[in-house]
């Protein structure tokens, strides 16, 4: 009898359990997915008049290259298309694009009239069978066609990923020619993808470490024009410049703008000691932030302007520290083996990019601002000078190859460590600094 009672109790318990579990729909939790480039198609933009066909093809190629260069998207070649887009206003045959596994489709139209250029585009989510956002139209001049394409790419990227793009941005860097022992350097600015390189200075004097202002209208850099390093601020529009005077008998370097663009933080070496200072650009008044006998340099503001990350050897080895923007006690955030330097705060505020030297190799890495989750993204003979894309998703840096004939090249890498790729420039490049997104 006891056996039967236990059986009955167990059955009742199971029944209650099942009835409870079966109420409502079946529920499952998905915690594992895949990470792979999203397949997309970008047919040539439809020409709305006879003179627009070539422009339509060029625009589509730049958009496709922008998206593909992120590593997050994979272009489906035109040879795989089942149907094509010949009319911007006609309906999309989703089944044709679904059959070739295109998950996103970018269509566009272009109208060239004299010097005027009009570009329209639409983005479709193929498997949802619907347009993703509304169509957009850009208008400008034919000279600005690449910016138009970058604008389209930014909109497509933003709608699919949910974060801002970075294609319509520029990079200021040091263009380098000649062997290492006789290298000539000059400031240059280019589109983020290496196109449209223009030079801001000549190569008569050594220039280092250009830094865009938060609004992209000015550039800070260090020049040896007088034989000693001095900090200059260059107005990009007029190419007019002026020196930021620091203390007598001191050497100033490693400048960087504050987020509001009104203050410059920099390093100043007096004798054998190097400390961090700030200078109000309007008044020229400087303030000393550190006073340790060790070397403090490479300061970088947090996006809110309240903190500064910098490198210091006060512990005996080069490590990263964070202090208040007004100075004071600093907190060490790097604790790994090797030497850490050139920290740069992410535009999102959550990460710090840095250069690390360990076991004879250089790395570009990222860590959270509390020093956790350090991750090395690259490894080579010499990787240095990280700079963040405007959306905080990509890091650009320069890599130098070994030997007297070694060349310095700009590279970019996703913060996940994927999609490491060189940025093509006419000459060698170093010390890149990414501008904010253009408006």
């Amino acid at each position: 009898m006891m056996v039967r009672i236990f059986t009955a109790l167990m059955a009742l318990m199971m029944t209650a359990t099942l009835s409870l579990a079966q109420q409502g729909p079946l529920r499952i939790e998905i915690t594992e997915g895949v990470i792979e480039p999203l397949p997309f198609a970008t047919p040539n933009f439809v020409a709305e008049n006879g003179s627009s066909a070539e422009m339509g093809a060029q625009l589509a190629r730049v958009v496709a290259a922008d998206l593909q260069n992120t590593g997050l998207f994979r272009e489906i070649p035109a040879s795989a298309y089942i149907s094509n887009v010949t009319d911007f206003g006609s309906a999309i045959q989703y089944s044709d694009w679904k059959a070739i596994n295109a998950q996103a489709l970018v269509t566009g139209a272009v109208n060239v009239s004299g010097n005027s250029l009009t570009v329209k585009f639409r983005l479709y989510d193929i498997f949802s069978g619907a347009e993703l956002g509304n169509g957009l139209q850009f208008q400008g001049t034919t000279e600005g066609w690449r910016r138009m394409a970058h604008k389209v790419s930014d909109a497509v990227y933003s709608r699919i990923t949910g974060e801002g793009g970075y294609f319509d941005s520029r990079v200021v860097f040091v263009s380098e020619t000649g062997p290492k022992n006789k290298r000539q350097k000059r400031l240059a600015v280019m589109d983020y993808d290496g196109a449209g390189v223009k030079y801001l200075t000549d190569s008569r004097s050594l220039v280092l470490a250009p830094r865009f202002s938060p609004t992209g209208d000015r550039v800070l850099y260090t020049s040896y024009e007088t034989g000693f390093p001095r900090i200059y601020v260059l107005d990009v529009g007029s190419v007019q410049r002026r020196v930021l005077e620091s203390g007598e008998g001191s050497i100033s370097f490693a400048p960087r703008f504050s987020p509001n663009g009104q203050t410059v933080v920099y390093s100043q070496a007096t004798g054998s000691n190097t400390d961090i200072y700030t200078m109000d650009i309007a008044s020229g008044r400087s303030t000393r932030l550190t006073s340790a006998p060790s070397i403090e340099t490479a300061p970088s503001y947090s996006p809110d302007g309240n903190s500064i990350v910098f490198e210091s050897d006060r512990s005996g080895a080069q490590q990263l520290y964070i202090m208040s923007a007004n100075g004071g006690e600093a907190k060490r955030i790097s604790f790994g083996q090797g030497r850490y330097g050139t920290p740069v705060w992410s535009p999102r505020g959550d990460l710090v990019a840095f250069t690390k030297q360990s076991k004879g190799r250089f790395h570009i890495g990222v860590m959270r601002v509390d020093g956790s989750e350090e991750r090395l993204l690259t490894a080579s003979f010499l990787d240095e000078g990280p700079t963040w894309s405007p959306n905080g998703r990509v890091i650009m840096f320069h890599r130098e190859t070994q030997g007297a004939g070694g060349r310095s090249t700009l590279y970019s890498v996703d913060i996940t460590g994927r999609n490491l790729r060189p940025v093509r420039t006419p000459e060698g490049g170093s010390d890149p600094s990414w501008s904010p997104l253009q408006k």
Binding site: G140, V236, G417
Partner: protein
């Protein structure tokens, strides 16, 4: 039923009850870290760009009127043109492009629209064949695709597809037992992202030479093994007749309990899905859940998506809807939902493999897409 079984049954019942009613399945939600992002004004830079423009690109671009794109024509009205500005002296600064104006277009209308098992060769009985020890399997390999399970380079003849299928071809007589289809295979994948800094050196860390060992004894012949196995197998004890007979009172109680359960209107009838069947469904969906293009905010967003399935396991696209979310911004929730929706549609296109006799159990499903573990890949 002996005493041990009784104790075991009582123990299991208590454990199940505790797990169900004790709240063990309820998990505390971890705090989601949110970071503020400053928006940088570009007014000054726009002014700069205007100053840099070459004389031919100085004409100011105005905001065009809202274009009208109808079903077939796609006509977009010409935007109004602002008066031309005075052209400044060309500066030696780099020429920048115009800042184009943006306007929204009206939305488009809807579109009209038998395999033999290979026999392994038997090794010589006196020769021990050992593969050289290697650490290759333990080293993560870089791949453009990251999936829960690593996939080696697939058959080049097969079309990449999340759902692996064998090819079905016509016979010589032109007859087919199933609809012809192309062979598909999952794409090559690694189980995690491998950065350049983490890539292993090409040099082997251990010698590829086999370690010196004495030859092992030949394996026991298969026939002997099967015989001995057969000897060790014992038939399961048949239940005693008395244990299969329940008293009428117990039967009545069970019948009443089961009857009450089945009368619940919202409860699906029939046997529930087994854990294995649920796992199969989960694996099927996650093969198409591509989070690679999601922002870091969207990767901190969990969405709950409801979907109804047809009897052949295909999702009803119009039924896919978001029923909940946690973390992230409204934009990231939207991106996370779109990605989840895409996963359900893509991998459900041929129908999820679910037991048809349990249709009531899976005709309505709520899937929680939690990307927490994908953030650290």
């Amino acid at each position: 039923m002996n005493t041990g079984q009784v104790i075991s049954a009582a123990g299991h019942a208590t454990l199940i009850g505790w797990m169900v009613f004790g709240g063990i399945f309820r998990t505390e939600q971890l705090p989601i870290e949110a970071t503020e992002v400053s928006v940088i004004s570009g007014e000054a830079f726009a002014a700069l760009m205007a100053a840099q423009d070459s004389p031919t690109s100085q004409s100011e671009v105005t905001q065009p009127a809202q274009p009208v794109v109808d079903n077939g024509t796609g006509a977009v009205p010409e935007p109004e043109t602002a008066p031309e500005q005075e052209i400044p002296e060309p500066a030696p600064a780099p020429a920048a492009d115009d800042a184009p104006d943006v306007s929204e277009l009206s939305p488009l209308p809807n579109a009209e629209v038998s395999v033999e098992t290979p026999v392994l060769p038997t090794p010589e009985p006196d020769v021990a064949v050992e593969a050289p020890e290697s650490n290759e399997t333990s080293v993560p390999q870089a791949s453009i695709r990251v999936a829960p399970e690593p996939v080696i380079a697939p058959d080049p003849e097969a079309r990449p597809d999340p759902v692996e299928q064998e090819a079905v071809q016509q016979t010589e007589t032109g007859e087919t037992v199933a609809e012809p289809q192309e062979a598909t295979t999952p794409e090559e994948a690694a189980s995690e992202i491998v950065t350049e800094a983490e890539k292993p050196s090409a040099a082997p860390e251990t010698s590829l030479r086999p370690p010196p060992r004495r030859p092992t004894r030949p394996a026991v012949r298969a026939a002997e093994t099967s015989e001995s196995a057969a000897e060790t197998r014992k038939p399961a004890a048949e239940p005693a007749a008395e244990e299969t007979i329940a008293t009428s009172a117990v039967d009545d109680a069970l019948a009443e309990a089961l009857g009450q359960a089945s009368e619940t209107p919202s409860a699906p009838s029939g046997p529930p899905l087994s854990a294995g069947e649920k796992d199969a469904l989960r694996v099927a969906v996650q093969q198409c859940w591509n989070v690679g293009s999601l922002s870091s905010w969207a990767l901190e967003t969990t969405v709950v998506v409801a979907v109804s399935l047809t009897k052949d396991g295909k999702p009803v696209v119009s039924s896919i809807r978001q029923v909940g979310s946690e973390g992230g911004t409204s934009a990231s929730v939207k991106q996370a939902f779109e990605t989840a929706r895409r996963a359900i549609i893509r991998c459900g296109a041929r129908g999820f493999q679910l037991p048809s006799d349990k249709y009531d159990q899976w005709k309505d499903i709520e899937m929680t897409f939690n990307p927490k573990r994908m953030r650290i890949k």
